[in-house]
Symmetry: C5
Subunit: 345 residues, 5 copies
């Protein structure tokens, strides 16, 4: 899994910003700069300025750009690999000058009807945070950008660790949306299954179960990361920010609780579905039984008087036919009464 990329040769090279979007913001309590990055070197300007610099890289296809950044900031070879590798388990790693946090952002792909995850890597240094996102489209960090532009809040007054917290907070908050989505799905399905259990409902339940398993897999390591960030004597995080991180930590636990509850509820739904199916089967069987129980004896009676024996006195009674019809009617009434009593009709 380690491809031994050599970053040495990249050093001096001029690189083109293709397939990648870089946004750079620098802020301090008294103001902010937003830089349109046209050339790679543009990223590096604000680092010398006062305040905190946030470099947001969207798109990981153009590995040259990533490697250039890695080289500039002195990233460890393993850090670079982790950022470029796409399906990693969320984790936190401490390096000499920076902290790496890998997260998974969940998205619901409505086409494939599947949960999907996008890796977000955050690297926090002394006066900067670099965020790497896989895709450019889904902008979960918009709110933070607006807060920086607005100014006058805790974010712009704080250090890079509070920016890191804000980014993590945005991602964790996004999980709540996913949970609500699944929660709504469960409720919808619940009603449908109770009303009329169809086999496509079980497929839907199965898909939901997969989604919940998927969510669970990415939220568990998230909790571990926050526990490490908050509890361990991490000198890069100030005491004040730690309090905020504990808040996010509480949220991840809340998410985990919700996910576990959903698992239980879904297993209850399977029971409901199975019961719905067997109830329908019961209805079918009852119908069959009622029909058979009524018509078999009647047909038998008709069969009796269809026999061709020479000596069958009833056949010659003047009202024999009508007596028999009357008898059949009585049998019918008795049967109906019997089924009513059994609660089958």
């Amino acid at each position: 899994m380690n491809s031994f990329i050599t970053t040495a040769t990249i050093e001096d090279e001029k690189i083109v910003l293709e397939d990648v979007k870089i946004q750079v913001m620098n802020f301090n309590p008294s103001g902010f700069k937003e830089i349109v990055v046209e050339d790679f070197e543009d990223c590096l300007i604000p680092l010398n300025s006062k305040g905190v610099t946030w470099i947001n890289v969207e798109g990981l296809e153009n590995q040259r750009v990533i490697k250039k950044i890695a080289h500039h900031f002195g990233f460890h070879e393993l850090l670079l690999e982790d950022v470029l590798h796409k399906d990693l388990r969320p984790k936190i790693d401490f390096f000499d000058n920076h902290i790496l946090i890998l997260l998974q952002m969940l998205k619901y792909n409505t086409e494939k009807r599947e949960m999907e995850s996008e890796q977000v890597s955050l690297v926090m240094g002394h006066n900067y945070v670099i965020s790497f996102q896989e895709e450019a489209e889904s902008d979960v960090f918009g709110g933070i950008r607006n807060k920086i532009r607005a100014g006058g809040n805790k974010l712009v007054r704080s250090d890079s660790d509070f920016l890191l917290y804000s980014l993590i907070d945005s991602i964790v908050d996004h999980y709540f949306i996913i949970l609500e989505h699944i929660g709504d799905d469960i409720e919808n399905l619940e009603e449908k299954v109770i009303e009329n259990a169809q086999s496509e409902h079980l497929q839907k339940i199965y898909e939901m179960k997969r989604d919940v398993i998927f969510t669970r897999r990415s939220v568990y390591p998230l909790r571990e990361i926050l526990a490490i960030l908050e509890r361990e004597e991490v000198h890069q995080i100030t005491k004040e920010t730690r309090r905020y991180l504990r808040d996010v930590y509480d949220h991840t636990i809340q998410i985990m609780d919700a996910v576990e509850s959903m698992r239980d509820v879904i297993s209850g739904l399977v029971d409901l579905y199975m019961s719905g199916v067997s109830n329908r089967m019961n209805t079918v069987m009852k119908t069959l039984t009622i029909i058979s129980t009524i018509f078999m004896p009647l047909t038998f009676v008709a069969g009796i008087y269809g026999m061709n024996f020479d000596n069958m006195p009833e056949l010659h009674y003047h009202y024999g036919y009508f007596w028999v019809l009357g008898g059949m009617a009585i049998i019918l009434v008795i049967m109906v009464f019997f089924f009513r009593k059994k609660g089958w009709l």
Copy 2:
């Protein structure tokens, strides 16, 4: 999730007490005062008095009032957010001058047939406790109010930490009522399912399962909170009160045990239900089989003698018809005997 509320502007403002009910009690071993709050400033009077002050705020809609209180008592921004946010996981947070405890009080909404939770926040300072409730109607603290009025008991002789304990105790005790409610439901359902399993029973089981999951989710963090309050070197809690808190802690464990047992019992109920359904199916199928097994051969015999062959000697026997009827009766008797032996009749 943090909305960066600025409390600064609220400081001097005159605020109206709408959508909120504030009750203030001050007590010491020798007596108590109960203040009708008409103006916000009324809340603050008793704080200078000797003894413990309890401010009970019902209704969180009027955020200005809450923020005013927060400002006066010097609450941290995060504390304020937690109080105002409604669906948080129970938690405990230590600040410089006060402790925040978030709890969930469970209620059974009989209309929606669902469990509901109401957040209760308790803030304990050096000589006061402030309690925030979402709704004004359900008064779980009535017993404590009466004890203060009665006087002459441990509560009025103790510090604010014992008042805090008493409030938590009231809330935990309320869980036992919920558990009894669910326990009774389970027993009722049990009988019904054993007698005659209907598909609405499974829906009820499913609802009960949701309720149990819901209860479980709110009681687990409760236990953690009490463990922290009781065990950790929390200097705000006296040794004597700690002993009482351990008692409440034991109750939360008892609740958890009960909840776990209920989960197991409910899964047993599902088995009972499923078995009831398949037993009914068995009865239906047996009826069908009995009817078919009796009438098919008889109808066949009648069919034989309904054939129009020229040469069928039996048809011309004088008592042929009666012999056949007799034969049919014998077949019937054999069949009934056979089913009796098989235990189907």
Copy 3:
């Protein structure tokens, strides 16, 4: 849950020994005294004697007596409440001069066909043990009484901690009887279910499951209590007695293992039952199918020759009727052969 009982007023009062039975024994290596308690003061006599005093209180209805004892021995208010409260989770509590141990003794109520528990509280002081039992009838401590009377054994040679151990040991041993009871039930049911699964069997399984859950709930805290008593630096317990307590501890673990195994076995029983039911259904369906498959074609053939077409040559063959009967017999034989081959007959 705390009712703030004031013990002060009880102090000097003369109290009547109604609804309560008190037995007092005092022993030392050289002999024993057994006191018939007619007046409350009788209890207190032997405390001044040399050796260990055991006060056994049966019946908790007469709260005055209990409170009197509590007052005399200087029990904490919470200890008193715990003893009087009946359905508490087993627990251990250390007070300045004594240790409180709450246990649950299991009994099988044969009428209600349910497990029931009776709370037993043990308070050990420096030279006495007081045991409180809910009901007077079930005497689990008889063996200990006999040992004291017999003398010459470790019990009479030891301190109050060994008496405490002996009492706990009696209660834990009683669990093994309950387990054997359930174990026998499981084996009986096993055979019955294998032979012929009836719906009442599932009800029995369900009841057994409840019993096991009930047992489990009371044995888990028991283990915790013994772990605390044995491991922690509890100065009231001598090193020698600690070794014996570890033995009891091992027994509680053995009980827990057995309970867990039973849960697993019971879930296997449910499978067996379900399979029994569906096998019976299979038998029913096979019967129906065999009957239908045999008689439907035969009846059809009879129907053919019951038609009234003018031109049906077979009808006029002299042996047509007999040929048809023979053909039907052949169909019958083929069918029977076919079902034999399929293993349905």
Copy 4:
């Protein structure tokens, strides 16, 4: 559970070796002695010799012998009880001069078709090991005896702790045989269930489940014992032997893993079985449905032309009968074609 046996009186008594078999071996690097025990005193001879003495006692019925040994070696009262008691949970206990290890040896009783356990107690002192076995017949220690006789290996060169290790190793190795036995059973059953699920298969699965639960219950404490022996600062075990014990420890973990896997596999087998049963049901139902669907319409048609209306033109067509027969054949072909398409035939 403690019967307060007095060992004092046994001291001087002459005892008979009935219902018990004692084998004594003494060995050192340079040779070994094997003593035929005819009198109890014979056991004690080699203890004064150089080297390690191994006393193997088979049969626990003759309690006088056991007590005599206990008395001689200065066993604690509780140790004696544990050895004599038969169904104890495996455990380890440290006494002043010796270590007691209780183990369960599993055997498969082919008659009862049940797993059975036999308690083996090992007491290791400074230069001896005493092993107590319930039954004389199953000699799991034969290999060790042969090694001693052969000489020239690590066993004869080491102290009593290595003999202890060797004995434990023999017992743990025996578990692998049991596991293989169950593993083979599972594979056999697997094939049978896939081929044709019979209700006796579920009984077999259920029995296997019990066996696995039984094995699990005895292997878990085994692991704990070895963990204690190996890890704790047990001065009686040399560092070299500790390394060997860790090896046995690894084996117990391997056994536990295998047992857990078997549990999972067995639950999968239940699914397989249930599916086999419902597949057979499906086949039965299909047969019934095919027969009914073919013959009901045909019989109806025959019924039509069996009606006795005066005016039924078809009856008088010359080829009417043959047209109808042809029509029936066409219906039959259509039906068969339809079932083929549905995959029912």
Copy 5:
């Protein structure tokens, strides 16, 4: 399990390299040597050279060779046994001069349709790593060999601990391939089961479940090994390599997460399958019920007019026959309409 092999006699013997393939590589930052081993002594040449030597032994059948190596490098008797024994649980063992790591490499045997494992043992000494593989064919270490040949990378610049890491990394990476294989199988099966649940699908699910259980059993100890290697103060591993090992550790956790998720997904698949089967049953039963419900009444009507009463006025109506046929058609239409409404057609 320990066979007390004596290695002493092997010392001077000349041994033949049969059934075993030995590859030796020596490398340092400036170059590498690759030695074709024709004689056993060839292995030992590079050990005196500068740099790291890697001896790869494929095939364990020729025990003389293995013992010769063991003797030369001074392996402990237990280490030798572990290497030769084939089905051991992965483990790590520290000896005075070397570390032993036992791993299981998973392979999917496409013939038996079963997972299989091959033991790989790694022994790391001060300037060498020896790897033992069971079979020669599957070369999972090819990539590493190429890296050494290529040179100029971290591997050739590092010590033997980095080579050890690289070997472990290759094996762990191989697990991802197995997981993908199972993951694809699950997805394929998913589609098939949703489309048309066949009984062979459940067998496939069952096999997959076994594979997952198998994988799980070998990946859990793997995680433990890496945790020990990475965390414990293992002086043989440099700080830099430890960072890389943590990376592999993260991968094993990722594998474990995936395996757990698969277990959950597979249990969902069983539900899907069961539902598919009962849906098909439902279809069969509906067909039967529809046919019966339509033709039973019609056949009954035909039976009525097949009776032979003298006085049956309808028989003599001129259009009686046609009226009856029309009535039957109406009944048919009503039935079809009724089933449509019920959603059965």
